[in-house]
Symmetry: C2
Subunit: 646 residues, 2 copies
Amino acid sequence: MFCKVKFLPDNKIVKVHKGENLLTCAVKAGVYLNSSCGGEGICGRCRVRVKKGKLNSETTGMITARDQKKGYVLACLATVEKDVTIEIPAESRIDVFKVPDRAVKETRPGGIYSKAENIRCAEPVRKDNIYKHSPLASKLHLELPEPTLQDAVSDLERLIREIRKKADIPVMQTGLSNIKRLGRLLRESGWKLTVTLGKRNETTEIVSIEPNDTSKKIFGFAFDIGTTTVSGQLVDLNSDKVLGTKASFNKQAVFGSDVITRIICAEEEDCLEKLHKAVIDNINEIIEELVQEHKINLNDVLGMVCAGNTTMTHLLLKIDPKFIRREPYVSTANFVPVIRAAEAGIKINPRGLLYCVPGVATYVGGDITAGVLSSRMSEDEKVSLLIDIGTNGEIALGNKEWLVACAASAGPAFEGSGVTCGMRAIRGAIEDIMISEDFDIKIVTIENAKPIGICGSGYIALLAELFQKGIMTKDGKFNAGISDKRFKKRHGETEFIVVPKERSASGKDISITEGDIENLKRSKGAIYSAASMLLAKIGLSFESLDNIYIAGGFGTCMDMEKAIIIGLLPDLPREKFRFIGNSSLIGARETLLSYEAMKKVEEIARKMTYIDLSTEPKYMDEYVSSLFFPHTDLGRFPSSSIKRAS
Amino acid sequence: MFCKVKFLPDNKIVKVHKGENLLTCAVKAGVYLNSSCGGEGICGRCRVRVKKGKLNSETTGMITARDQKKGYVLACLATVEKDVTIEIPAESRIDVFKVPDRAVKETRPGGIYSKAENIRCAEPVRKDNIYKHSPLASKLHLELPEPTLQDAVSDLERLIREIRKKADIPVMQTGLSNIKRLGRLLRESGWKLTVTLGKRNETTEIVSIEPNDTSKKIFGFAFDIGTTTVSGQLVDLNSDKVLGTKASFNKQAVFGSDVITRIICAEEEDCLEKLHKAVIDNINEIIEELVQEHKINLNDVLGMVCAGNTTMTHLLLKIDPKFIRREPYVSTANFVPVIRAAEAGIKINPRGLLYCVPGVATYVGGDITAGVLSSRMSEDEKVSLLIDIGTNGEIALGNKEWLVACAASAGPAFEGSGVTCGMRAIRGAIEDIMISEDFDIKIVTIENAKPIGICGSGYIALLAELFQKGIMTKDGKFNAGISDKRFKKRHGETEFIVVPKERSASGKDISITEGDIENLKRSKGAIYSAASMLLAKIGLSFESLDNIYIAGGFGTCMDMEKAIIIGLLPDLPREKFRFIGNSSLIGARETLLSYEAMKKVEEIARKMTYIDLSTEPKYMDEYVSSLFFPHTDLGRFPSSSIKRAS
């Protein structure tokens, strides 16, 4: 028996078998709901409202009795029994959102990175790109001499001859479809045309031909395909100018919040296709919004570079990631040749090119090689450490001679998932918090908007303040000796109210629970201990480092001091730290804009050695020691004790 | 109003508009009829029989009154008025036929070409291929070491690493579809697989991957796409062995017998598609027959090289040839990159590669560059002349330093078209004729079969005999002074009976008319005068030549002496002549089997200069002088007068 499910406000209707899970129905209809637990009924983010008809749904503490009466249910706990109409509230939707301007303003004249200034909320400051401008796709306007009886070479040879007058390209190839169009196009355009040249592996391809001079219009996209967040950036491939950046939560989250859950899911029938389609939808929506905003024709988008971890890259290309999670944990491809974006279902010019930044190993993907590229650590004689605080928390170490990397299973807490009031660093996110001795709380939100939730940097500040003000103990529990109106009980768990519902944008309390603290503690512990182990493995210590680069979608604005206080970052001289923002996205963009950078990132991927921490005997000890604020070994955090004492 | 037309014995039914031409209906149904005049009602080869229903048809002298009563009509002169059933007699069909073995036995140990032996019916004798074996597609069986925790590179890198251990390939690429299959395939086959490597322009492609060891099974096709005849050869790409050769009349003949008519036709709506489909049908049928005969799986056919004139190559790839016939006569592409055969609609392995031998100019195509390759004239310090007696009659001249070429509009008479009883050099064709003083005629047929018609070499012998025995005058008319029972009148024209109907396989007289002689005379005159002009242009004479190579599908068995007697070939020392058979097909095969040969043929195409004879002031005089047997200037043919005197 079939039922019809209608989703509002999209007005999308899907016909499903009776008894089907509502979250699955939504995916079938192409409607993606927030879900950081992967449909386990834990995160409570897939709240929807029944407008017409009835569902069979489990009751859950995540929905208040009042809301239940209004028809709210968790989609993941509901099954369809008859025709229904479902309304999806704004907060449950995965939507494209604008990334704050400062998060992408990383270019500024001057030294490679600014040294002293503004460490608290540093913009990554970069000298003009050191790699030569030679984008993945470039346009060339040509006026061909008309053929004569004396100069009667074929149209294609004439075209290639003219291209070679302007560019040094020994090997050139082109597809049959362009050749088929060439004769008519040349004559109808009066021998004036524009060719798009693309870098395809070691050769150059005539990607497309069009009449007249369109050489001013050529755009590309750089994408960071994160497990939690997909970020895309529209770039003018002539001027290298970034026109806009948007992000959205990875729609694959419906199928699980981490890569392993998604790999398991991909083994079910049709699920690989669904996971692939989900992320392609993310990408196409971001592209669509950005090109509309900038009034760009999709046909003028001719190149694209994606950086993501190995599983994300597999799913992007619909390569089965199954073997990644089986010993010996081998991926199908770390280096994928340049293909057409259309082959992956991405909607740009149908002949536009897609390059995926190569990875090192199953757990060190293209996002890290792109990050290393953008940090310039592989150009430096001094030793640098790169910490990418994403869902996985990858760490790279090295210099121009050698590179090693490892992965820490940090979880997505600092990306706003798995924590009650977590959110991405977008408008309305609390990014800094100060707590006075009498529990008066001052917050800073992005764009000074009414607060909606707390982003990564906000949680770092909150933990540091809770710890320093003695509200939270070093093992991450609330201090039982304090009683204040800010402490509340919800579902039997204590929460600390940061912003009461009267002042929040959602009308709900913005708070932190001990469960949230536990998750955040595990994330910060995983990152610190992995960095520490990686250094030990090479025979180095934190003290021997010259630079520490902090990357992460969230990480353009975090309080360094507070990150050290909670033990997320090592207690080193502050001038050694640099924020480099979403280095995966920046590296992808650099690869898009320069063939030299593409060759460099390939060299990085080949050169870097992956170190599997799980086989290191001392790793578990190191990890457990770091599950405290800041660490069991306070000797490692001298400034923490100074601060507390002051 | 629509009518249904059923074609027997194929049982193919097509629905057409009332009033549609029957020849067009047949093409729509995928049934190709013989037609050397292109549907003008002249050649009389598209005879069909109405079995049921009625057609509106013009009466024609080509069908006897008796046959008209039996329901025979010319398809090109008939239109459909109501539902009909049409039977197509065997002789009106374009069928795949076997090329006689000797026509393709061109390899024999010894000198590059045999010098002295058997000039009358010489097999082209060739030393073993001088180009290194490195076919367009080759297979490599690999047993990959299984991944371990210590050796955990990705599947694709593991594969490439293993390939590089066996072959020196700096740049390797592969498509996404292979990568998608790789993980599962490796594990299911126990890490034993076979890869097909293909040469794609300057890089190597992993064309396909398959489980287990299939490296013994890899085949390719070489094709000569002639205006009149399409010939294909199945080759074992491991051993270079030719497994079989077949040919069929180019189905495009339905749309016109020469390239210009077909180009004009291609400008009509949908006609480019039809012309393309016609030749692709030729190719696919030959492939199908040869693979079935040799019990080969189509998936093991992974490479293909086609050589054809420029228009044929355009139509093969469905590139509009329109501009070829408009001043300044420019083609769209002379060099086409390697593509997948499937892109052109050719049915081999869907990822199998297709390379078209590059041409020099609009009227000197890949068939000539392939011919020059196979003749070895471009490796020789001495000066050689290559005459390809095909529909167009191209001529090349030069040595290892320089090459020039021109085209003579020879017409297809020596290929069996445009002459009353012409046929290709297949079983049953008269290939030699001797006429005694008392008009007793001895014939030699291919495979000693009952005679069906006369092939090119047969016509050369016939003309020489008619001329030498005084039956035909030097201007190509029958000697009015002779009366013999062999002279008959048909449709008001005199014909000379070579084989009376009682002794022919078709039950019809095999004869030659003055119209036939006129056509053959123009062909031979066009070729001789073009060769003569080309030499003059370079400041050389026939006497300065060291080698004269005679190529052509027909030309593996022709009487050199008789070709000189009629003035087709110059009167030079006989040891300078070499027959090199279908040099376009042989050159295509050499290109298929060796990357070195591919580079060589590209060099030939780049090096060769096209000379347009139509702009040469003296060309018309030279042509008119050669419209006699053997020539107006008998001083050029000293042996001719000796023979006649003897």
